[in-house]
């Protein structure tokens, strides 16, 4: 079991590293050494923040990926603050990543049990989807995780991913969902 957790952690870190470096270089024009420092500090902060969170706490948080990127952002601002007094960092503790999920658990459960499948079949379906959501290609990963996990509106997604309009996000997100459904149905 411990070995699995090592793999999960290293997969998460690898993915976040790629995202974080692109973001830090693009948004804060950080050199590679500074990116290394921000990434390392942020990872340790995330680890500390997650130490005592229980399952419900995780559901009531934004996604781990969004949380981590926000910590990186704050660390980058802190770094830049030393060279530019106009930028002020927000202390990590002041940032609030908790929220009340809008999706109703009882409605989710109703849909999950609508077909009266056996536990084995349901588990197989869950595992298949679990693998798919972990390996979504961009831009689908950003859009689907943003929409279904972080519960961002189309407008927020358009701003976050630099889309021209909510309409473009709506169609792109829909096509991403279609591709996911097609893959999910491939056995």
């Amino acid at each position: 079991m411990l070995k699995d957790y090592n793999r999960i952690l290293s997969d998460f870190i690898k993915k976040q590293r790629d995202k974080a470096y692109i973001f830090l270089q693009k948004s804060y024009q950080l050199e590679k050494d500074d990116c290394d420092a921000v990434f390392q500090d942020s990872l340790i902060i995330l680890w500390e923040k997650l130490k005592d969170v229980d399952e419900q706490g995780i559901i009531n948080m934004t996604s781990t990926s969004t949380y981590f990127l926000a910590i990186c952002k704050n660390k980058a601002r802190e770094l830049r603050r030393d060279s530019n007094k106009m930028i002020h960092a927000i202390d990590d503790d002041e940032q609030d990543f908790s929220r009340t999920p809008q999706y109703k658990q009882e409605n989710i459960n109703f849909l999950l049990t609508l077909d009266h499948e056996s536990d084995i079949i349901r588990q197989e379906e869950e595992d298949r989807l679990h693998q798919l959501v972990k390996n979504l290609p961009e831009p689908c990963e950003g859009l689907l995780w943003g929409y279904y996990r972080d519960e961002l509106s189309l407008k927020e997604l358009a701003e976050k991913f630099d889309y021209k309009s909510e309409g473009t996000v709506k169609v792109t997100k829909h096509r991403c969902l279609q591709k996911l459904i097609t893959k999910y149905k491939e056995k």
Partner: protein
Amino acid sequence: MTIDISNESKLIADDERIECYLKGRMTPTEESQFVELLKSDKELRERAKIQAQLIQAMRHVDIETVKAFQNTDDASIRNIARKRNVISIRHWIAVAASVLVTFLIGFKSYDYYSVTSIGKEYATAFAISSQLRGDADTDTQSELEALSKNVENGYDMDSTIVALEQLWQKANQDTYNEYTDYAPNIGWNLAMAYLQNYEKEKAKTVLVKLQKDYPVGTAMGDRIQEIIDKL
């Protein structure tokens, strides 16, 4: 890929209703009508169920990730966080070794040198800045310019390649978006980045795709052919 627009509009409308249901935003009457419909409409039921599963799956992925963090001690997380530097040192050792091998063995390293040199030589041939059009798309332009500069200077190729791969994918989507017009320049920069990273086959794949739109006889098509001949 052909897209049936009318069916797409219907499915988008279905998804909006599913979302309303999942978020409890329907009136009791609307909700009971929707539940009845789910029983008779197999396609709607399937879509609704997958979206419920999707929400659950994403939550489970996060729970799994947090548990992985919670099962890691202070020393291990610090060690993992520093891994990039170790990889970086390994990378430079590999480059140094390949220079040494150039003297000892010859061809293989000569190939490495030739391929990466082509990537550098042609990096500025179709720089993104040459296509930018003044006032529109400032964020997109800045992003593309920064990546183009990285390729030009051979800076941080791993991250630059990841970013360009994503933009190349976006630029080639069926739906028109902010990257569509820049597709040739994004593709060119990606191919040059691959060459600088000694990823010859990936570079060829992008160049061949570009050459379908820019055949020999066009400025880009001629340059592509030159490169392919050299490779």
